[in-house]
């Protein structure tokens, strides 16, 4: 059984080895059964994790809600030029999973949903590696402001990568 924290460890290991060069773009599609505020919180926490993989400070977030249901997508801009697209798709029947594509300037890392089965521990993605609650709150604040304004919004404080 592969769990999210194992994916996180594997990604950090590959990135540290420099096999794909410097990471520049992350595409992440989260599949889960969350609703409402849970979705926003998950997006905020995954955004924090991506910031750590890229080792860059998050600068701006443009958030789009699904026209119906509990999906949402974020376009992320980081201070040193990296970018990311993070989406949440509500799939209550299929369990938690995710698609990942991390592009480095010398290669790429891929992980496809359905190639892993998640354990149902609480927040398996973040065990031991997550951003502080303050940082997640700042990201969540930017997501919610962008939902309201329909525009990209800046992070209102310095976040460590």
């Amino acid at each position: 059984m592969v769990i999210h924290s194992q994916i996180d460890r594997a990604i950090r290991s590959v990135l540290a080895s420099q096999r794909v060069g410097q990471p520049v773009f992350v595409r992440c599609i989260i599949q889960g059964s969350g609703t409402g505020h849970e979705v926003e919180k998950t997006l905020a926490r995954v955004t924090g994790l991506i910031s750590a993989w890229l080792n860059q400070q998050l600068q701006r977030i443009y958030a789009l809600r699904a026209s119906q249901g509990d999906g949402a997508s974020l376009a992320l801009q980081f201070r040193d030029g990296a970018t990311a697209l993070v989406s949440y798709r509500h799939e209550p029947r299929r369990g938690d999973d995710l698609d990942l594509m991390i592009l480095g300037n010398h290669g790429a890392i891929y992980h496809e949903a359905s190639s892993s089965v998640m354990c149902d521990e609480v927040n398996p993605f973040f065990s031991g590696q997550e951003h502080s609650a303050v940082e997640v709150t700042l990201i969540l604040d930017a997501i919610q402001r962008s939902f309201r304004s329909g525009r990209p919004e800046s992070i209102l404080a310095e976040l460590r990568p």
């Binding site: 595409r27 599609i29 699904a66 026209s67 376009a75 697209l85 592009l103 300037n105 290669g107």
Partner: protein
């Protein structure tokens, strides 16, 4: 079916997509290649490349496009003129009453795209821009989508990356500053990849949903190649959009290097539905083959085509196919043959100039957004 009933005029030749389109038309029994032509004042290099394609197919080169268009044997103009002069050539061919097979994207400027649409309408000719919508996997996706197997469509996420070029040379410490309107699109060693590659998912999403794009947020970047960076054109782009019904759409495109993918690159679209999601992946289903043969290696860099844009230059540096992934799928008719099917039945193609112009508008909105950092609402002001 009568053999050779459609006379095809190739407008602009070697080191363009015309190499592919000409081969596709030549393979279709309904066609006869009439000749290659271009505007009379093209530079020496372009004329030589045009003549090279004419020689390859054993057909004449007409140095005056008007002379070629006056030939009554010409029914269809296949136009691969560089973007900067593409619109006036398309309009000329339309005004000559020739059907139009068009390279993508349609034209770099909104006014040009509008003028093409008006000229095509005025001339009453059929047109089709090259795209992926005629591919079997696209047809299958549309059929599944239209049978409502996924319930209500809630979001679309599309990724398209071309695994070509030798990556790792872009200076990541130099952030891209996008300019609007974009001026340079296709150079010898680099193209604008949001424009060049982004047109595929944009046209696909419009074709699948029947909906127009309403808002566009875009970012462009130089992540992989110094060739793009030196010419101030992007090798990567992302779009976060809504369609007219509010449906969110995210798109990531780019050229990311030969060794970034086991096959030709990621080409995948996820249609998120209320009942289930439909994953359209060109590389699935597939077989995977591993053996003790010499691993695939990057080809030599062709000095005139470092990004491996063209068939002829790839042949010159002996690019070998990657063999470890073998996608499984039905053989497909060429996009060009699908256009001929439309002409045979007297119906419009599914991607005529009017639809192609909508894609141009989305791409321009993406560049405007990338330059300003703001969300752009469509339609763009005229």
């Amino acid at each position: 079916m009568s053999k050779g009933k459609y006379g095809i005029l190739l407008v602009t030749g070697g080191q363009t997509h015309q190499e592919e389109y000409a081969a596709a038309f030549a393979e279709d029994d309904r066609c006869k290649l009439v000749g290659v032509t271009d505007e009379k004042d093209v530079d020496r290099r372009r004329r030589d490349l045009n003549q090279q394609l004419a020689r390859h197919h054993g057909i004449p080169y007409f140095s005056e496009i008007d002379e070629a268009l006056a030939n009554p044997d010409v029914d269809v103009s296949s136009i691969c003129t560089p973007p900067e002069r593409r619109a006036r050539v398309i309009i000329r061919c339309a005004e000559a009453g020739k059907h139009l097979y068009l390279d993508k994207p349609l034209a770099p400027k909104l006014q040009e795209a509008d003028a093409i649409v008006a000229a095509v309408r005025q001339a009453g000719v059929h047109s089709q821009m090259f795209s992926f919508i005629t591919q079997p996997w696209a047809r299958q996706a549309k059929a599944t989508f239209e049978r409502s197997k996924i319930g209500q469509l809630l979001a679309i996420h599309a990724d398209l990356f071309f695994a070509k070029g030798k990556p790792g040379s872009a200076q990541l410490s130099v952030p891209r500053m996008e300019q609007y309107p974009p001026e340079r699109h296709q150079l010898l060693e680099a193209k604008r990849e949001l424009d060049n590659i982004g047109v595929y998912p944009i046209t696909m999403i419009r074709w699948l949903t029947g909906k127009k794009f309403r808002t566009v947020f875009g970012i462009t970047a130089n992540y992989f190649f110094e060739e793009h960076q030196k010419q101030n054109v992007e090798d990567f782009g992302l779009l976060s959009c809504t369609l007219e019904n509010g449906l969110p759409v995210t798109i990531a495109v780019g050229r990311y290097g030969w060794t970034s993918h086991p096959a030709g690159g990621v080409n995948r679209m996820i249609l998120v539905g209320s009942e289930r999601s439909l994953v359209v992946d060109v590389n699935r289903p597939r077989m995977e083959v591993f053996s003790d043969e010499t691993p695939w290696t990057m080809p030599l860099v062709h000095p005139e085509d470092p990004m491996a844009f063209w068939r002829s230059t790839q042949q010159e540096v002996k690019v070998q196919p990657k063999g470890s992934w073998i996608p499984l799928g039905p053989p497909s008719a060429s996009d060009a043959s699908c256009f001929l099917d439309c002409l045979d039945s007297g119906r419009d193609s599914e991607l005529p100039a009017g639809e192609a112009a909508l894609a141009t508008e989305v791409l321009l909105a993406g560049y405007q957004s990338a330059a300003t950092g703001e969300v752009v609402t469509l339609p763009l002001p005229r």
